[in-house]
Amino acid sequence: MSSSVNIITLTIDEKQVGARENQTILEVARENGVEIPTMCELKGLTPSGGCRMCVVEVAGIPKLLPACMTTVSEGMVVTTNSERLKKLRKNILELFFSERNHICAVCASNGFCELQLMAQKVEMSHVHYPYLYPHCEVDASHNRFVLDHNRCILCTRCVRVCDEIEGSHTLDIKGRGIEAQVITDMDQPWGDSETCTLCGKCVHVCPTGALIERGMAVGEMSKRKQLLPYLTQMREVKT
């Protein structure tokens, strides 16, 4: 961090806080004990602004801004937890649940899942949108890992960790919008991948039961969060 970075002041939820001018609203909020819910964000990976859970209100700007992608500025007045934001976050989460087939009772990640926990946190009692019940494949061709598209929320954490930390870029996304899907190599079965190094980072950053270790039964797949400080460290070495 260069010493020439300017320090600015802004307001987050009626609290005056200081920040470096190149920080995001999310970073500054966290430093000051203000919790903003996130799904796609993961410390150590480049923010992607995809999930929209972290949207906040900034005075004077009519649209909502993702806290993970918006840098702070002098005098900014940020609201992170209005009734409107709470409702929107609940709706966003409902869309996650309605777009794929999340049957927690028979999921390897049951009890450890960030999506499941987030539903509880934002008090999502049910999904008021119609469920889409799409037909999704399960890629079990790899001898160590399984990719279950039924549980994927397209957060791209796996894609980013594979590219940015492992340097393999085995994983990517094909298609757009509701058609989007995680793929391996040129949309081949994962087991046929020539680039996958079997490191398993994707599995452990995946917030849901979409990426699991082979052979895990219901409620067995806890993710190793110890990986996360390591990611940050690797990131700092690289930049």
């Binding site: 049957i103 499941q116 049910h126």
Partner: protein
């Protein structure tokens, strides 16, 4: 205080939520102080009552009979509780939802059976194209998540409702 009336029923569910209800153990006596259980697999009554204060409805809505039943239940019930994940999300029964009904029948009656070669089409309720959550058809007052919800949570919810309060479930219940 006047006792409330309670009905419990399962449609497309596995009865696991009812098992969890039975797991309140001796606290069933406290439930019985607050409620008369007037309809339930636990009591021998055939017709769903015309009027009931609280209904615990387990299971998804999967057949034409379920649809009729859930409408009847809604009409009779003051406080309708979607009881467990099948009622709230359609859960495990919804695992058939992305298959054609034709294929579901073929799988259920032909492919997985060695001594049967007919798909029954009489005397049985008609399967809907999909298994749906209860709120797809009628308004729900309380969503009680869990597969199954714990006995503690069920007991808590029933007591709160009997005391005239809205149960605070977000900290006590979750999917799965």
């Amino acid at each position: 205080m006047k006792k409330l009336t309670l009905a419990t029923i399962w449609l497309d569910g596995c009865s696991g939520c009812h098992m969890s209800f039975v797991d309140v153990d001796e606290r069933i006596l406290q439930v019985a102080e607050k409620y008369d259980i007037i309809f339930s697999p636990l009591v021998d009554v055939k017709e769903f009552p015309e009027k009931v204060d609280v209904t615990l409805l387990e299971g998804a809505i999967s057949t034409d009979e379920d649809v009729e039943m859930v409408k009847k239940i809604r009409k009779s019930t003051k406080t309708l509780i979607a009881f467990g994940d099948c009622a709230v999300t359609s859960n495990v029964p919804s695992m058939r939802n992305h298959y054609d009904l034709k294929d579901v029948f073929k799988r259920g009656y032909l492919e997985t059976s060695t001594d049967n070669d007919v798909i029954p089409d009489e005397m049985l309720p008609k399967l809907l194209d999909k298994a749906y959550p209860v709120h797809h058809f009628v308004d729900v007052d309380v969503f009680l998540q869990g597969c199954p919800p714990s006995a503690d949570t069920i007991f808590y919810a029933l007591v709160e409702i009997a005391e005239g309060r809205t149960p605070e479930l977000s900290k006590r219940a979750r999917f799965g």
